[in-house]
C-alpha cells in the first residue's frame, strides 16, 4: 500500500510537469485564470474527500482550510473577471489538471485510515510545491493584466502557506 501512496504523490507532480512542458507560458491571461480556478477546485475536491474519509482532526483542519482559502481565491477571481467583463478560457493545461485529479481521487477512494491520511498529506505537499513553482516562475511573469497578476500574487502567498502547512502535516504523520 505504501507503493500506492508514493505513486499517487508522484502522479500528482507528473500530471502537472507533463503539461507544463507544453509551454504554459504561452497561455493568455484568461486561460491562466482558468488554470488557477481549476487548480483551486481540484484542491477543494480533494479536501471534501478528506473530510469524508479521514478521522484525523489535523487532516480535517487542513482540509477545511483548503476549502475556505481556495473558495476565497476563486470568488476573488470571479469578481475580477466580472469587473473586467471577461470569462476564463478552458485550455490544455486545465484539462490535464482535471485528468490527473480524476485518477488521484479514484486512487484516494481506495484508501482508509492512516494510509489515506499519509496519501492525502503527501499529495497536498507535492501538488502545492509543483503548482506554486509553476505559478511563481512561469505564469506570473507572463501575465499581461496588472490586476490579474496582482491576484495571482495574492493567491501564491496563500498557497505557499498551504505548502508549509502540508509539509508539517507530512512530517507529523511520518513520525
Amino acid at each position: 500500500m505504501t507503493n500506492l501512496i508514493s505513486a499517487i504523490a508522484v502522479m500528482s507532480a507528473l500530471f502537472v510537469s507533463q503539461a507544463s512542458a507544453q509551454d504554459v507560458a504561452d497561455l493568455n491571461d484568461l486561460e491562466m485564470a482558468h488554470v488557477a480556478y481549476t487548480a483551486d477546485n481540484i484542491d477543494i475536491r480533494y479536501a471534501h474527500l478528506a473530510l469524508a474519509l479521514s478521522t484525523n482532526p489535523d487532516i480535517h483542519v487542513f482540509a477545511n482550510t483548503m476549502i475556505s482559502d481556495h473558495t476565497a481565491v476563486n470568488e476573488a477571481a470571479l469578481g475580477l473577471l466580472d469587473k473586467l467583463g471577461a470569462s476564463a478560457q478552458d485550455n490544455f493545461f486545465s484539462q490535464a489538471l482535471n485528468e490527473g485529479a480524476e485518477q488521484i481521487i479514484d486512487d484516494f477512494s481506495k484508501l482508509r485510515g492512516a494510509e489515506f491520511d499519509v496519501a492525502y498529506a503527501t499529495n497536498e505537499l507535492a501538488y502545492h510545491q509543483t503548482v506554486n513553482d509553476l505559478v511563481e516562475n512561469v505564469m506570473i511573469p507572463n501575465i499581461d493584466n496588472e490586476e490579474v497578476r496582482a491576484l495571482f500574487k495574492q493567491g501564491l502567498d496563500i498557497f505557499k502557506v498551504h505548502e508549509g502547512h502540508a509539509e508539517m502535516m507530512v512530517e507529523a504523520l511520518n513520525q
Binding site: 483542519v61 477545511n64 482550510t65 475556505s68 482559502d69 476565497a72 481565491v73 476573488a76 495574492q154 493567491g155 502567498d157 496563500i158 502557506v161 508549509g164 502547512h165 508539517m168
Partner: protein
C-alpha cells in the same frame, strides 16, 4: 514654575480627558472602552503581542484574501471567521486565555498581555 490657569487651558484639559489615547489602543470618549487594533496581514497578526486592560476591546481586521480567525489556544473564545476586509471584536476579561491562533492557519499565533 506654575503655569497660570487660563480659560483656554481648562478647555484643552477637558477635551484631553475626554479623548484618551492609550499606549497600545485608542479611546474616543472617556467611559468608552479602549480599542486595540490588530491587523491580519500576510498570514501574521500585527502586532503579534498586545498589552491590554480588562474592559478593553481587541479588534482584529483581516486584510488578507484568505479568511482567518483569532481563536484562544484552548478555544475559550473565538472571533469565528473573519473574511477579507472584515473586523471582529473581543472584550477583554480578567480570565480570558491570552494565547491565540488562527484556526484555519495554526502557524499564525498571537499573545495578549493583560495588565
Amino acid at each position: 514654575m506654575n503655569t497660570p490657569i487660563t480659560r483656554r487651558g481648562v478647555l484643552i484639559g477637558a477635551v484631553a480627558s475626554a479623548t484618551v489615547a492609550a499606549t497600545n489602543g485608542t479611546r474616543v470618549f472617556a467611559g468608552e472602552p479602549t480599542i486595540h487594533e490588530v491587523q491580519i496581514k500576510k498570514f501574521k497578526f500585527k502586532p503579534k503581542h498586545i498589552t491590554v486592560k480588562v474592559g478593553d476591546v481587541i479588534r482584529w481586521t483581516n486584510t488578507d484574501l484568505a479568511p482567518h480567525t483569532a481563536t484562544a489556544k484552548e478555544f475559550g473564545w473565538d472571533t469565528e471567521e473573519i473574511a477579507k476586509g472584515e473586523s471582529k471584536d473581543v472584550l477583554v476579561s480578567a480570565t480570558m486565555e491570552t494565547q491565540y491562533f488562527c484556526a484555519f492557519h495554526p502557524q499564525m499565533k498571537g499573545v495578549i498581555e493583560i495588565e
